[in-house]
């Protein structure tokens, strides 16, 4: 078991391990973190890893990077149960689950093309967040996003 684990997930000295990502969402997590192709540090991604609690999960490890609050909020929208492990000098310095914010601002584009937040007006998008399942309700036009939230991330 441990040999298999080591093969899949090599320990890192400093950085972040995002664990328990909803299976299939790892690529979207990379997109949220702006990692598309050329990137200077080591990034490891594992998809559909067997998990006792989830059946299957994805894992993303990024060396030499700790995440910003906005990035964590975005990850929570697409994978509410994801856990963040901050690694410093090979030790887990901090570990917590991402938390869904009550309001998200300037993170998601409204699906309604006729919404005021999709015009040249000086307003940014703003959504109320509901849990179980995640629903985003635009505070301007009241349209609700329930599916494929990753596609609408700004």
């Amino acid at each position: 078991m441990s040999a298999e684990k080591e093969l899949r997930v090599r320990p890192i000295r400093n950085g972040t391990v995002i664990d328990r990502i909803l299976a299939g969402q790892a690529m979207n997590v990379l997109k949220i973190l702006g990692i598309k192709g050329a990137y200077s540090d080591v990034v490891t991604m594992a998809m559909n890893v067997p998990s006792k609690a989830l059946g299957q999960k994805d894992i993303v490890k990024i060396e030499n990077r700790e995440l910003e609050e906005k990035e964590l909020d975005k990850i929570s929208l697409i994978s509410t149960g994801a856990t963040i492990n901050i690694i410093r000098d090979f030790e887990v310095a901090d570990k917590y689950q991402v938390e869904l914010p009550e309001i998200v601002e300037s993170m998601v584009k409204c699906i309604n093309p006729n919404c005021i937040s999709n015009t040249k007006e000086p307003v940014t998008s703003k959504f109320e967040v509901k849990k179980d399942p995640v629903q985003l309700r635009c505070i301007y036009c009241e349209n609700i996003i329930t599916e494929n939230i990753a596609e609408h991330l700004l």
Binding site: I116, E121, P122, V123, I139, C141, E142, N143
Partner: protein, 307 residues
Amino acid sequence: MRFERRHIISMKDFTRDEMEYVLDRAAKLEPLARGGRSDLLAGKILALLFYEPSTRTRMSFETAMLRLGGNVLNLGSKEATSIVKGETLADMIRVVSTYSDAIVQRHPSEGSALMAAEFSSVPIINGGDGAGHHPTQTLLDLYTIRKESHLDNLDIAIVGDLKYGRTVHSLTYALSLYGANITLVSPPQLKMPDQIKADLKARGARVRETENLEETLDCIDVLYMTRIQKERFPDPTEYKKVAGAYKITTGHLGNVRDSMIIMHPLPRVYEIDSSVDTSSHARYFEQSFYGVPIRMALLTIVMGVGV
């Protein structure tokens, strides 16, 4: 009731007590709306920013203001303003709110009234934001129902475009606070969205759906007709068929309750035959007039003037 300097954006901002407060004030002001003269709003200025065509909403706000002794600033045609130069709504609101004591706005984008409220230093009254809200229409509908019929234990049929019609969504929301018995009558392609129906039921309304207008007519207190827009139908033949099936004529009125009233937010196209206009059931022109006392009430409330 804390209304002074409050924005009027959506019916969802109102409790039932607040709605009744507005309706009661409108009832007090109705004699003035019928041709009286008052100086309640003397020295006050109302700005009308209509980015889309409007007849009843714009003119009834103007009438309300003038009958109460106030003045009106009108945006006029878009071509004559800085909108053609590309000025944003936000900038327009910032500027106009320094000229006036309240602003009535109609704009084609959903959420525009809420955004305007964020930039305005005076109350914004939403006169329609795209397919979003039109709260003053709902308040005048409630006023009409309360005055010409009754709000408690109401049996109402709402007919026509229940999918896109903003007035219908706001009205059914308000009626749900009174536990109304609502029959939704529409062709299948224009049915009310499931989410709105679920919300109505959760708030205590009884909701039934049918495609058949005639079967509902003899057991209702209010028949609320709406316009079915041609552009909703890709096939013109289909439109004609549907428009014909949801048209009221005097021939339909034989077995209805004596007290049943017919309402329509206007403008109508084919939905109500002109022969119905002289029947004892027609109330759509009175309904249109009630927009004046309702808007008088709202103007005095947001400008903080007692009656």
